[in-house]
Symmetry: C2
C-alpha cells in the first residue's frame, strides 16, 4: 500500500443508492463494488448538490454548489471563470481525463468575449470543464442531431453495425418478435435485449477506453473520470443482462395514496409530468426496473475488469478510487419518475471511497454514517495529493480525515438545491423563470425544502422515514420550520462568492489601513 | 427636448445624502444640483448595494448585487466573466468612458487563465470594468506606491507643482503656519487650504477632462462616467472652499449614549475602529465636516460648468444625467466614522435623474419616495436607449417608467449587504473570513440586518427613525424578525446566478423533453 498518486473517479448515471448489494438490495448483486466497499469506506449519507445531471456534475467537478457555479440545470453553460478538478490537478503533473459523460455545456458567449475558441488552447479544456476529453460521450444521441462522427458510432460501424446512428439503432434499441426495430426511448421496449453484442455495448466500450487510457498512461500520474452513461435511460440492456432479473426482484414502490391528497404545489405539478405518470403504473416499473438492474450489474462486471487491471499493474497501491452517481431515480416512488425532487430516492447517492494509503487501514470495510456532499470530493482529492485547497473558491470540505481515522467535525446537515425553471411544472404554476428554485436542508431528523414563493415542505424523518407526510403547512410544526429555515439561510449565506482573493490574502489585508501610507480616520 | 442619446453618469465619492441643499441641508448650498433636481426626479429612498466603495461601484456598473458579482470589498477583483454597462452600450455604438474613480480591481488570475493581457484587446476594457479609461484615477496615491506617471501628477508638475507625488504633497496637503507640509491624511489638517490653486485641484482637473471628452466626442453618442474622487478623504479642500463653511454650519451628530450600551457585537466592534473613535470626538467633526462641505460645494460649482456646456452644445436635449454617490459617510453619527454599516447615513444615497425625453415632463421637479437601488441604474440606462435588458444577468429593474409617469410596481424594500472579512472587527470577533457577512433589508417600517452567526439587528423606523434602539434581541419583536428574515431570504434566493442562458431560451426550452428525439419517460 502506498501514497495516493492517481485518482480513479467513477460515476454511474442515475444510479439509485439502494440498487447495489452493498447498500442492501436483496436481489441485485454487485460483487465488485461490494469488494471495493470492503476495502474502502461506504458513505451511507451522501448527497448530491442538485438532483439532476448537469448541475450535480458541475458541483462534483468544481467543489461548488449549483447556484454558486451557475450551471443550475442541464444545458446551462458553466461560466468560463469557474475552476474545476482538472484546473487544480493539472499544474501538479496529473493528466486529468474524461471517459464518458460530463454533461458540460461550454460558455461559448463568455469564451467569445475573452477571445477563446472552444477548439484552441486553453479553450478546449475549459469547454470540457477541465477534463481532457479522452472519450467524451454524453450518451444521448437521438436521430436528427446525432454526430455522424461520434467515436462510439464509428466504433460500432467498424464492428458491423451500419447506419447513420448505430448508437440509437443498435446499442439503444431492441427488436420486436417481427424483427422490427423497437427504440429504447419507449419504456415498453425495456425488456428487450439491445441489438448489440454485450462486448460492443456502451458500458463495455467505455471500459475499454478507460483501460486504454490507463495502459497509455503507464507510470505517469493521472486522474481519470470514468463516467458511465448507464443505468440512465434509454433503459435497455444487452443480453444477457436484459433478462438477468425478473419483475419479482424489484423493490416495491415506496408511495402512499395520501401523498396525492393536496400535495405541495411544486410536488403536485411534478407528479403531473409525463415520466411521473408513467412510472406510477406498475406495468412500467415491471418493464423498466429489471433492465435498470441489468445495466447496473453490467457496470459492476466491467468494473471488475478495471479493478483487476489495477491489481495486476500495482496501481491498486497508489490509486484512490471513488465510485458514486450523479443522482438517483424515483422509478415510481412517491408517484414520480426520473429525479429532480428531494426525496431520498433522488438526492441520496452511493459513495464508496477506497484510499490506498496505509493510514486508511483502520476504516477499511466500514460504513460512515455522517453526512457528506458531492462538493466534498474535490477537496478530498486535493488533500490526498497534498495540494493546497483553495478555500476561497471550494465550498466542500475534505473528508480525508474520515477515511484515515482522524479528527474533525462531521457536518450536521446535507444541502441540495434545484432550479426547476425548465419544467412544465414551472409554467403550470406560473412561476417566473428566475424564481423557480428549491433549497433543501436535510438534518438527522428533518428534511426541509424551501420553495421560493410557496410554503415549504417538511418531513419528520425519525417518525416518517419514508417521507410520506409533508408537515410544511402543519401549524404544529411552525417552530421547527423556523429553526430549519434559519439553518438553511446560514448555509446559503456562506456561499463562496468572493472567489477573486485567497483566504490568506484576506487575512493579510485585514489590518490594511496603513497600507502604502493610506491613513483612514487618523487625527 | 428629445430622445436619450447620451448618458452622463456622475458620481461623487462618499457623499452623504443630507449634505446637499436639495436634500435639505440648511447651510450647504448646491445650486447646480438643485437645478438638476428641479428638471429631473429626486429619489428620496435610494440605496447602495454595499456601503463601501468597491462593491457598491461594481454593483452600479454591473446591475448586480455584491455577492452576485463577487467583488465584495475594495480590492477584490471583479471576475473576468462579469458584464458591465460598457459591455452593454458599446455594441450599440456608444463610446463608454470613465473620467475619475472606478475602484475596479482586475481579475488578473482569471485573465491569465484565458490568455488575456490587461493591456491588450479586450483585456484593457475588461480590466477597467467595461470603461474606456479616458482618465482613470482612483484618487489614492500615497507616497511609496505612487505612480510616477499618474496623469494628474504629470499635469500638476506641468503647472509647477514639483516632486515625485504632487497629488499627495500639493493637492492633498496643506501648510502649517510655519510653512511645513501638513498631510491631508491627518484629519487635524482638514481646515487648512490644500496647497494647490483651485483650478488645478482634483475636482477641477477631472471636470476639465470630462469637458475635453465631450468636446472630442462631438455629435457621436456617448456614455461618460464622471466619477469625482471627492468629498472622500483625504478631507482637504483648496481655497476658497476650505474656509467656506464654519463648524457651526455642520449637522449635529446623530447619536445617543444608549447606543453604546451592549451594542450588537458587530456594531460594537466597528465602533472600536480607529475612524469611529476619532469621529466620535467633536473636535474631529468640527475640523473635518466644514472641509467636507467645501469639497461638495466645489463639485457643485464644477458641475455648473458641465451643465452649461451641455446647454450651450444642445446636449441637454439628448443626454440623460444621473447624479449619485457610492455610499454615505457616518461623520461621527452613531459613534461611527467612515461608512461600512447600515444606518441611513451610510447606505442611503442622493440620486437625481434628469431625462431629456418629453415623456418625462410630468415628473420634472418631483420627488420619488419609492425605494430604488444602485442596480436599477444599468437597466434604466438600457431601456432609455432602447436596448434589451438581459434579465438573466441584471438583478436591478428599470426605473424609466417612474421618470415618465408610467405604471409599474415600486419595490417594497431596499437590499444591501456587506462583507466585513477585511475589518479588524472581524478578527476581534473571531469570525471566519468567509462568514463575515451582513445582509440588510429596509422596508417602509423596518430595517433588518442579518449577521451570519449572530443575532440580527432590527430598527423600528416608524417609531425610531434615527435608529437608536436595536430591537434585534428584544423578545417582543420575534415575530417581526421572523417575517423580515423570510423576506430577506426570498430576496437573496432570487440572485441571478444562472447567467449563462437567456430568459427567452429558458422559456423556449421549458418543454424541451421532445428535443432532438429524446423521449423521457414515454411508454
Amino acid at each position: 500500500m502506498g501514497k495516493v498518486r492517481n485518482i480513479l473517479f467513477i460515476m454511474a448515471d442515475q444510479l439509485r443508492v439502494d440498487y447495489l448489494s452493498c447498500y442492501g438490495h436483496p436481489h441485485l448483486e454487485t460483487p465488485n463494488l461490494d469488494r471495493l466497499a470492503g476495502r474502502g469506506v461506504r458513505f451511507d449519507r451522501a448527497y448530491v448538490q442538485a438532483p439532476v445531471c448537469g448541475p450535480s456534475r458541475m458541483s462534483f467537478y468544481t467543489g461548488r454548489t449549483a447556484f454558486s457555479h451557475g450551471a443550475t440545470w442541464n444545458f446551462v453553460p458553466l461560466p468560463v471563470g469557474e475552476l474545476t478538478l482538472g484546473d487544480y490537478l493539472r499544474p501538479h503533473g496529473m493528466r486529468t481525463a474524461l471517459v464518458g459523460k460530463s454533461h458540460m455545456m461550454p460558455d461559448l458567449a463568455g469564451m467569445e468575449r475573452v477571445g477563446l475558441s472552444p477548439d484552441g488552447e486553453p479553450g478546449l479544456i475549459i469547454s470540457e470543464c477541465g477534463f481532457e476529453p479522452y472519450e467524451r460521450d454524453d450518451g444521448e444521441h437521438p436521430h436528427p442531431k446525432a454526430d455522424p462522427d461520434l467515436p462510439y458510432n464509428r466504433y460500432l460501424r467498424a464492428q458491423g453495425y451500419e447506419g447513420p446512428n448505430p448508437w440509437n439503432d443498435y446499442a439503444n434499441s431492441g427488436e420486436g418478435p417481427d424483427g422490427a426495430l423497437r427504440e429504447g426511448w419507449y419504456m415498453q421496449n425495456a425488456p428487450l435485449a439491445a441489438r448489440v453484442a454485450e462486448e460492443h455495448s456502451e458500458t463495455a466500450y467505455m471500459t475499454d477506453r478507460a483501460l486504454q487510457f490507463l495502459e497509455e498512461q503507464g507510470d505517469a500520474p493521472w486522474c481519470l473520470h470514468l463516467s458511465y452513461i448507464k443505468p440512465h435511460w434509454p433503459y435497455i440492456a444487452p443480453a444477457p443482462y436484459h433478462a438477468m432479473y425478473g419483475h419479482n426482484q424489484i423493490l416495491a414502490a415506496v408511495r402512499e395514496t395520501r401523498e396525492r391528497d393536496d400535495p405541495h404545489p411544486v410536488y403536485g405539478a411534478i407528479m403531473n409530468h409525463n415520466a411521473s405518470r408513467e412510472f406510477s403504473r406498475e406495468e412500467v416499473r415491471a418493464a423498466v426496473i429489471p433492465a435498470y438492474m441489468g445495466l447496473i450489474r453490467q457496470i459492476d462486471d466491467h468494473l471488475g475488469r478495471v479493478f483487476r487491471y489495477l491489481e495486476e499493474t500495482g496501481r491498486m497501491d497508489d490509486t484512490m478510487i471513488v465510485f458514486t452517481s450523479d443522482h438517483g431515480d424515483y422509478l415510481g416512488d412517491h408517484w414520480l419518475g426520473e429525479k429532480e425532487f428531494f426525496h431520498e430516492q433522488a438526492v441520496r447517492i452511493p459513495l464508496i471511497v477506497y484510499d490506498p494509503d496505509a493510514a486508511a487501514d483502520a476504516t477499511r470495510g466500514t460504513a460512515d454514517e455522517g453526512f457528506i456532499e458531492a462538493i466534498d470530493l474535490v477537496p478530498t482529492f486535493l488533500e490526498a495529493r497534498g495540494i493546497e485547497i483553495p478555500t476561497h473558491i471550494i465550498e466542500g470540505r475534505s473528508a480525508l480525515w474520515r477515511l484515515r481515522g482522524g479528527k474533525g467535525e462531521v457536518p450536521d446537515h446535507a444541502y441540495s438545491e434545484l432550479d426547476y425553471a425548465f419544467y412544465k411544472a414551472r409554467v403550470e404554476l406560473g412561476v417566473d423563470p428566475h424564481e423557480a428554485r428549491l433549497f433543501m436542508l436535510r438534518t438527522d431528523d428533518w428534511k426541509y425544502v424551501h420553495a421560493l414563493g410557496f410554503e415549504p415542505l417538511l418531513f419528520d424523518l425519525r417518525n416518517d422515514p419514508d417521507e410520506f407526510v409533508d408537515l410544511g403547512r402543519d401549524p404544529g410544526y411552525a417552530g421547527f420550520r423556523e429553526e430549519l429555515h434559519r439553518a438553511l439561510f446560514e448555509r446559503i449565506g456562506r456561499r463562496k462568492n468572493r472567489t477573486g482573493i485567497t483566504t490568506e490574502r484576506v487575512q493579510q489585508r485585514t489590518d490594511g489601513a496603513h497600507r502604502h501610507g493610506t491613513l483612514i480616520g487618523y487625527w
